[in-house]
Each structure stands twice: as structure tokens, then as C-alpha cells.
Amino acid sequence: MQFKISALFVLLLFLSLAAAGCSSLELKPASFGWAVEDVVMVESDGTVKVERYMLTADVSKLYFEETGDSSGIAGNQLRIIRDNAGYYYMTARGFKNVYVFEADDAALSLVNKITVYEEDVLTEPAMNQRAPYIELLDSGKLPVKFNKDGLVKEE
């Protein structure tokens, strides 16, 4: 019995030490927002490159997700912007959705997929930085705002 108590004590001690060692250093506040969206051309290998921010990503799967086809996407324009929280927003002409990604280990992981207009596709989309939101404009439509969680209504 005494052995069990001792073992439990050692285990608790170990866990508390481990918890102390794992507590992360956090720098706050931090802002990742881009002043203006970037419009980049999809390369023949399906990648896009944002020169100013040194961002490169393969967007083939994004197009496949949106249209069900990732062939013939070379030359398409993709619009990308990053909000202050560090999430990337991507959309393009002909899309119905805005895709929200977060940076991962050498990857961009989908966080959210925001459907802007139920019926229509985007014809002339453009995204503006309107911290803490991102604003989406489209030709002949009212602007909408959203964050990583989805559309927000104007107060």
C-alpha cells in the first residue's frame, strides 16, 4: 500500500514537472494582417507564389474542392489575404466560397469554408483588410464581412 502511495507521488511529481516544462512562451499582441490582398497566377504545376510574403502553396486541391476538377487551372487568378489573426483567405472568380486556412507544418490547413452567396458564384471578387474582419466585394453586390468563423453581420 505504501509502495502504491509512493508510486503515485512520483507519478504526480513527474506530471507536474512535465506540465511546467511544456508551458509555451506567448508573444502578445501579434498581427499578421496583409494591408492589401494579393492576386497571384496559378502556375502550371498548380502552385501559387506571393512574392512579398514569401508564401508558396500548391492550390490544386483547393480548385478540386471548389469545382471538382483541378486540371487546367494554370493561369487562373487566385486572391489571397491574411487577417491580423494569421488566417489566410482564398477565393477566385467563379468560386462560391471563401476558404480559410491556417499555417501548419509546411502546409495550409483548412479551417473554414465560407459560402458567401447561396445561389451565385463570385464574378469579380476582391477582399479588403477591415480588421478585425475581411471584407469581400463582388460586382453589383453588397459587400460582406467575415472572419475565420464565418460571415458577420454589420452592427
Binding site: A35, V36, E37, D38, V39, R52, R79, A126, M127, N128, Q129, L137, G140, K141, L142, P143
Partner: protein, 448 residues
Amino acid sequence: MKMYFAVLTFLLVSLNVSILVAQQSDYEIQKAYESAHKSLLQRIDNAESVTELLSLREEIAGLKNKYQPHSTLLDNALYPDNFSSSIAKLETQWSVAQTRLAQVEELEDENEDLQNRVITLTTRLEQLEDTVKILRKENAKLLGELSKLRTTRTGRTGNTGEIRELESKLTDNIRRRDELIAEMLTKIFSGYSSDFTSLSESQRNVIRSDVEEGSVLANLLYLAQDNLQFVKNGLFDSFGFKELVDNYEQFNQDWETLKPKIAVIYAENEEGSKMISAIDSTISDWKFALKESMWSSIYQLFLAYDVKVFQFFDGQEFIQSMKQYIDSNMSNVDELNEETYAVFVDTLWNGRLDSSWIPMLIERDVVTVEQITEVKQKMNDWHDKIYGGSNSMLYIIIGIILIAAIVSGIFLFGKKNKKESGKDDLNDYADTTEENEYEADENEEEKK
């Protein structure tokens, strides 16, 4: 109520429309600004006049005003620039372009002035060249006439009036040509550095072209040749000859100044080098001809009066010749006559040489004062031989007479004084006797 609803609907629709119209992508704003900025920058760079630049300055101000409301967006978007620095870049570029264009316009003005100057110069050179050609033809004709007249001239009373008139015309023509060519040279070379080695190839080409346009080298050669011919064909008095020498010296001096410049311009140009050598050679001949002409002119004076002196070609020979002539006339007593003496000494030497040629020969170190004194001494001796005594003997005789007169004067004066002093002695004696008698009387009275 229905009316109220309609107004509300209208307002809402209007609001939506205005929102739709007003909405603009930041990306579009950035791209539009960048595009306008780039275009403006290019147009500033390509501007070709200050006037064009002035309108671009207004466009810069317009761009700045138009995008001022988006300055915060552009400050962030225009990495690594910002709105202010990008406008500043335009303004700096504008200033650079303005300076450049001002310089270009200034250079263009200068260039235009230069072109006008070239046109004026070319026209003037053509006029000068034409005048020089006419003068040259006229000179050739005059020289021909002069030569003809001289070959037909005989004796001392030749047709000198006509010859002098021609000579005068020729001298005037040559002087005018000289002045015209000097004007050409001044026009061609003015405005350039005196150090011709520092001239650029294009400047040398311009000068060479001008020199060729006015046929300057050819004209200089012709001028030297004509002067040479004139000197060769002429007999001159000392004043005319002095003018010729001055003319030669001026030409030679000008040529010595000009030659190094011409040599630079015609470096590695065979034709130019030949012309330079030809002018040098003609000037050298001209100098020699002047010397010959001077001795010839003096010699001709003797011949004109039939005075047979040995011909002379330099100062030494001239003095020698004069001495020999006098000596031969003195030694040959039979031929001694007053007329030969009078022609040589009074007419030629004193009348024609001593007041004109001789001072010039001395001035130019052709003969010395001592040599001339020697010749004059010989003339005195000659005079003595002819007129039976020398002046010095006369002076000696006069001196002796004077001395004799003085001596006799002194003698006579001395004698007269002696007589007067004898009278005085007697008077003294009388005075003394009177005094003695007076003293004796006084002594006798005292004794009493």
C-alpha cells in the same frame, strides 16, 4: 402610408446603389496608384521640354491629392515605399528631369547659336574668298604691267610716275588681301582655346572645314607668293622698302603664331603638311628676295648716276665697294675732278643715302656706325685731294695764326704795361722826394 412606404423604398435603393458605386477594392486602388505612378515616372523621364514638364508637375500634385484619402492604405501596401516616399520619388525625378532639360535646352540654344555662327561665318568666308580671288587676279595683272614697264625703263629718268602708281596700287591690293585673310583667320579661330592640342576631334574638324571653306592656306600661300613677286620685280626707295620689310615681318610673325595651330588641325594630313612647307619655303624666299632687292635698289642708284662702284650683296661688301671707289678716284690723280666727287658725295651719298638708306642699314645692323664714319673720313680725304688741302691743315694754320696773334697781343700788351709802370716809378720817386723834403723840413724846424 403608401406614399411613405414608396419614399422609404426609394431611399433604401438609393443607399444601396451609392454603396455599390462607392465600393472599391484596396487592391485596385493600389494597382491604379502604382500604374499612375509608373506612367508618370516614365513620362517625366521621357519629357522633351520644360513646358511638358510643367504640366507633369501639375499631374504629380493631382495624383497626390487624388490618393491622399488612401494614404494609410498605400503606406502599408507600397512596400518598401510608402505614399509619401513614392510621391517624393516623383518630385525628385521631376527636379532631375527639369535640370537635365534646362541643360539640354541651354545646349540647344548654344548649338543653335553655333549653327547660326557657322552659317554667318561660312557666308562671310565665301564673300572674303571671292574678294581675295578678285584681288589676286587684279594683282597678277598689275604685276605683269609693272614687269613690262620695268623692262622698258631706261636711264635715270625712266617712267617712274607710272611705275610708282602701279606699285602703290599693288601695295594697296596686297594690304587689303592681307587684311581680309587676317579677318578670315580671326573669324575661324575666335572662340577656341589658344591651346589647340586640347581641342576635341569634332572641334578640329569644324576648324579644318572652315579653313578649307575659306581656302585659308592656299590664300596665305598666294599672298606670300605675290609679295615675293612684287619684291622681286621692284626697285624701292628706303621708305617703300621699309614698308615691305614691315609687311614681311608682320606676315612672318602671324604665320609663326598660326602655324602650330594649323599643324595640330592638319596633323597626319599630307595635303596640309605640304601646304605648310610651301608657305614656309615661300616666306624664306621672300626674306631672301627682300635682301636682294634692298642691295639691288641701292646699287641701281649708283648706276642711275653712272657711278661705277663694285656691286655689293651685303653690308661688308657695300662698305668695301664705297671705300674702293673713293680710293680709286683718289689714287688716279689725273681723273680727279670735282664733278665725280660732287655726284658721289653730294648727290648720291649726302642726297640719297645718308638721310634714308644709311640710317635704315644701321638700324637693322647691316652696317655699323664706325664703318660709315670710315667711309666719310675717306670722303674728307678725297675732298682734300681735290681741293688741295685738308681742312685740318687749315685749322692748324688758323690755329697758328691765332696763337701768333695772341702771343703778339700779349707781347704788345706786356710792353705797354712796362711803359706805364715806368711812369709810375717816376711818380713814386717824385712822391718819395716830396716826402723826404717834407721830413727834412720838419727835422730842421725841430732843430730850430
